[in-house]
């Protein structure tokens, strides 16, 4: 262990905020909501000390609006919220998708629907993260399951947002957000930091003003920031000049490119954890805090001679389907424990026979425990 190594015993929300700081976040716009508020609280003290900006907006709609504005002038901008606030952000999430504006949205999930259970954990927004905003749109959602991953996945969220010029969602939950674990804070330079491609490297200088949305193949549009050139940005379908169009060919091109730019580069986006999957007859599919219980259950079952394994997407959207299919194909059962009523289960059902999928659902505000997963699997074998 080197002398400089820095360890901290902190909660997930703080690790998320420190990850954002590590990634170079210099603008935060947010609105208080349990159980995410600690992220805003940290940023309000941290950012002005570093010359960055924090603002508490009047609601979640203006929070996401403010960070899109800040990103358009070149800032690395984020917000943090929970279910009800995430619902309010959905319209402008789509704006950031179509206008290709990098932002990071942290959603510390709690029980729903509506005001639901503000201080209790749930995995209630897995599908909202994918389908919440109207229209077809690209989605990247990362789902950490530890305090350490709250740090590292927030860094990765900024990197992916900057690289693809798209909003990236970090799905924490009340357990991961408030649980305390010891983590090592990476040294500066230890983790890769991605900054958005400067327009001059992607397109001829002369095109910057006239065609800021000109992208090569499935690349993101590398529009210059406001203040560098006088471009137009709109939430309407637009052509490569950035101005509105209803030309069917151009509309189709844009709608497919903003999705293809991510889905055609899966190697950059995908991230997952495999545990005892090679010979698994029972494959557990779990994410976030539920996967902590699943991990313990799998290890316990292995000790008892049950061939169980865990497939844990860390990038939830786009779903790592090729890898999942690889292990799901040979398994007799796919067990999906989750703190909702089947939002992940419906994903598993797309890739294997319906009869093979066994759901374990908990929506009473309690965390999932390993015993429930173990007893369910034991009944199967």
């Amino acid at each position: 262990m080197s002398k400089q190594e820095k360890f901290e015993f902190i909660q997930g929300n703080l690790a998320c905020a420190k990850g954002a700081a590590y990634a170079g976040c210099d603008f935060f716009g947010g609105y208080p909501i349990t159980p995410s508020t600690e992220i805003a609280e940290f940023m309000s003290g941290y950012l002005p000390k570093k010359g960055g900006k924090f603002i508490q907006m009047e609601d979640e709609i203006s929070s996401i609006g403010s960070i899109i504005g800040a990103s358009l002038v070149g800032k690395k901008a984020m917000t943090a919220t929970s279910g009800p606030g995430f619902s309010l952000m959905q319209e402008l999430l789509g704006y950031a998708c179509i206008a290709e504006v990098p932002i990071v949205i942290v959603d510390i999930m709690r029980g729903g629907p509506s005001t639901g259970l503000p201080t209790a954990p749930a995995q209630s927004d897995l599908q909202q993260a994918k389908w919440g905003t109207h229209g077809d749109h690209p989605v990247i959602a990362l789902i950490p399951n530890s305090v350490e991953e709250m740090f590292t996945e927030t860094v990765r969220a900024f990197n992916l947002a900057e690289y693809f010029r798209t909003p990236v969602i970090v799905l924490g939950d009340e357990i991961i957000g408030h649980m305390r674990e010891k983590i090592r804070i990476p040294e500066p330079g230890e983790l890769q930091i991605v900054n958005r491609t400067r327009p001059s490297t992607a397109a001829p200088e002369t095109d910057l003003v006239t065609t800021p949305y000109h992208a090569l193949g499935n690349d993101p549009a590398t529009l210059p920031k406001f203040g560098k050139s006088r471009i137009h940005v709109t939430g309407l379908n637009h052509d490569i000049t950035g101005f509105p169009t209803s030309d069917s060919e151009m509309v189709g091109d844009l709608n497919t490119r903003i999705i293809a730019k991510i889905y055609e580069q899966r190697d950059i986006v995908d991230n997952f954890q495999l545990l005892e999957v090679e010979d698994a007859e029972i494959l557990v599919l779990a994410v976030g805090s539920a996967s902590r219980a699943a991990e313990e259950a799998v290890l316990e079952l292995r000790e008892q001679g049950v061939k169980a394994g865990l497939f844990r997407p860390i990038t939830l959207w786009p779903f790592p389907k090729a890898e999942f299919r690889k292990y799901a194909k040979h398994a007799k059962w796919i067990v999906v424990p989750e703190m909702n009523l089947g939002q992940l289960k419906v994903v598993a059902e797309r890739f294997v026979k319906l009869e093979k999928v066994v759901p374990i659902n908990l929506v009473n505000g309690e965390p999932l425990n390993p015993e429930l997963i173990i007893s369910t699997i034991k009944r199967l074998v």
Partner: protein
């Protein structure tokens, strides 16, 4: 003769606005005021929401941002806080700015953030075909108030002052030199400034109220006949006041500006840290 070419994206013309609409008049007034301010075009961000007035930025050769319905001030607040050296102007209709965007409007006033907001106040949702808005006159017929508007209307000046804006003026699309002056003063004011511009939409509003307006020209003349300078407003009866457009500068005051305060905080923290 003023040369507008320098400020227009002429290839984007003709604009979408109807004959008799005041938006073009206010646009030219805004261009003249910006020119008088002498700002670098690269340093200007023109932000809008959704609606007829919100198409304005597309025609102007500065940094332009066409956001979502009601949200122009949310985006503009992020831009101004992130880059206080940039000049941020918001153009908004009455529905966009005061109904769906009403919460952002009052909080931008309260923060006294250095943004100029121009309300293109024609008292109607024009783009969707003429539904009543928060500033539609009581009793007017619209496509969603076929028996006459039953709701009282907002006074933009009162709301702005009540919420804390530090420069507030009202003009009309008929009294153009006066409007040039108000917009110029708003642009160069340090703090949140509002210019409420009384306008008209004959296409979706006037033609449903032919008892009041026979033609689009009548609607402009209505502004001429009903504008009363602030200095003469006290003499009006309540009934006259209902039908008047009271014009003038209603507030021009100094209060600490939000982004300057924030930059001052950064400076203080830096000194402390050293």
């Amino acid at each position: 003769m003023f040369n507008y070419s320098e400020y227009l994206r002429e290839e984007k013309l003709p604009h979408i606005w109807c004959p008799g609409c005041g938006h073009g008049i206010v646009t030219k007034s805004l261009i003249r005021a910006v020119d008088k301010a002498g700002w670098d075009k690269d340093k200007i961000v023109l932000v809008s929401g959704i609606g007829c007035a919100s198409r304005l930025p597309g025609y102007i050769d500065v940094n332009t941002l066409h956001t979502a319905h009601g949200r122009a001030l949310a985006f503009a607040t992020g831009i101004k806080l992130a880059r206080p050296d940039m000049h941020v102007i918001v153009v908004s209709g009455d529905g966009d700015g005061l109904a769906i965007g009403g919460n952002h409007f009052i909080h931008a006033c309260r923060r006294n953030i250095d943004i100029t907001t121009i309300i293109f106040n024609n008292g109607i949702y024009g783009m969707t075909g003429g539904q009543y808005s928060p500033t539609t006159a009581y009793g007017d017929k619209t496509s969603t108030s076929p028996f006459g508007n039953m709701e009282p209307n907002f006074d933009v000046v009162d709301i702005s002052i009540g919420a804390g804006a530090t420069f507030v003026a009202r003009g009309t699309s008929y009294h153009v030199p006066q409007l040039d002056n108000y917009i110029y003063k708003a642009l160069t004011h340090k703090g949140f400034s509002v210019v409420d511009v009384a306008e008209a939409c004959f296409t979706t509003h006037g033609r449903k109220n032919k008892n009041k307006y026979k033609t689009n020209i009548d609607m402009l003349k209505w502004q001429k006949d009903h504008a009363v300078p602030r200095s003469k407003a006290d003499a009006l009866t309540d009934e006259e006041r209902e039908n008047a457009i009271i014009t003038g500068i209603f507030k021009d005051s100094v209060r600490p500006e939000f982004t300057e305060r924030y930059d001052e905080l950064i400076k203080q923290l830096k000194t402390k840290g050293e």
